[in-house]
Structure formats: structure tokens, C-alpha cells
Amino acid sequence: MQITIQFFSYLKELTGCAQISETLAAGATLGALHDRLLAQFPRLAPMRKSTLLAVGVDYQARDYVLQDGDEVSLFPPVQGG
């Protein structure tokens, strides 16, 4: 299945891209995708624990099971205001 991944704020600068696409096996979790991205972009690793994960417009936990077409977002702690 095909998953789109967006990076925001300084994660975007660390990966050097705002958006990528990944092909995953059915049943893959959000956590598994995150681990794969950390391997692909080692500069994201130090932020592993503080990185927030969303699917669409909702936050999701690492055990969330992805579906074909999901839009995943990775970003650092938010700082509005």
C-alpha cells in the first residue's frame, strides 16, 4: 500500500524534503513506518521520542494500523501563540 509522509518545521530541514511517498506491506503500523523513516533519515533519530505522529488531521499512537492512501505527518513539539 502507498503512504504519503509530510515533514514539518525543522524535521523538514533535517530530511531535506517536505513530502515523500513509501510503499508498505498491508497491516504495517505507524510505529513501523516511523522506524523505517529513522533508518532512512538518521538525522531524525535524536528527535525520535519528541516527534509527534499524525494520520490525516488526527494524532495517532504508534500501534495505529495504516491503510492504503493514508497521509502521515511527522513534526516536532508544537509552539503556537
Partner: protein, 140 residues
């Protein structure tokens, strides 16, 4: 500019995300407060001249707008559940905001002071926890 309104029956809500300077007096003129309401708590946030000790010129706000809108909707719904609030309005500026300019305006209207302050502070605390907006200081 994104504007989201909802006042069907329940609590009035208005969210504005804008890359233009915030017009505070227009914001106030649009206030609607019924005769049963006795309290309005406001908050204004402005860009400070220093960030982590360094002098800055501006802050650039980046947002994941679609998610910002949805997450504010969840927060507004929670306010409606928790407090007898008549109206919540929040305007957040995005893009480059110079020092001394307004980045945030929040207004909560309620029957009494305690709930107006409680809801206003809760909303800002939660905003800083879940709303996907990020700041990048721009050096002077």
C-alpha cells in the same frame, strides 16, 4: 485566510488563521455578548524582541493548516462540554510576524469571571500542546 465559524445552536466559535496583520479593534467590534453574560477574558500574544536570549527581528509561524482547523474544533467542543461559555474566538497569525506585532488574540465570553478565565487559559495551554503551528525566530 482561513475562517471557521459555527454557532448552530450551541457555543459560538470563530477561528481565524491569517498571514495579514491582526486588526485588534475590528476583532473587538465584532464581539457579541448577550445580556446573560457578565465576563469576557481576553489574551493578546505579541512577538517579543528576544527568543532564548538572542535578539530577533521577527518570528515565522508555520502551520499544518488543515490539522490546525480540525484540532481547534476538538478543543472548542471540549470547552463547550466543560464550561457554560457563550462564545470563543481565536485569531492566530501565520507567516512572518515582526517584533511587537500581535500573533494571537483569544476571547472567551461566559456568565462569570472564573469560567471565562479558566476556559481562556485552558484553550491556550491546549493550543501549545496539540495545535500544529511552529515558530522559527528570524535573527535581527
Amino acid at each position: 485566510m482561513i475562517q471557521l465559524r459555527n454557532s448552530a445552536g450551541g457555543m459560538k466559535r470563530k477561528l481565524t488563521l491569517t498571514d495579514q496583520p491582526i486588526d485588534e479593534s475590528a476583532f473587538l467590534r465584532q464581539r457579541c455578548m448577550s445580556a446573560n453574560m457578565g465576563a469576557a477574558a481576553y489574551f493578546l500574544g505579541a512577538v517579543r524582541g528576544t527568543e532564548d536570549g538572542a535578539v530577533i527581528n521577527a518570528i515565522e509561524y508555520e502551520a499544518f493548516e488543515k490539522m490546525v482547523v480540525h484540532q481547534f474544533d476538538l478543543l472548542f467542543a471540549e470547552i463547550e462540554r466543560r464550561w457554560p461559555v457563550e462564545s470563543v474566538r481565536l485569531t492566530h497569525r501565520l507567516g512572518v510576524v515582526k517584533v511587537n506585532e500581535v500573533s494571537l488574540l483569544v476571547e472567551v465570553i461566559a456568565p462569570h469571571r472564573a469560567e471565562a478565565f479558566a476556559a481562556c487559559q485552558w484553550l491556550i495551554d491546549e493550543m501549545k500542546r496539540v495545535i500544529p503551528i511552529w515558530k522559527k525566530p528570524l535573527a535581527a
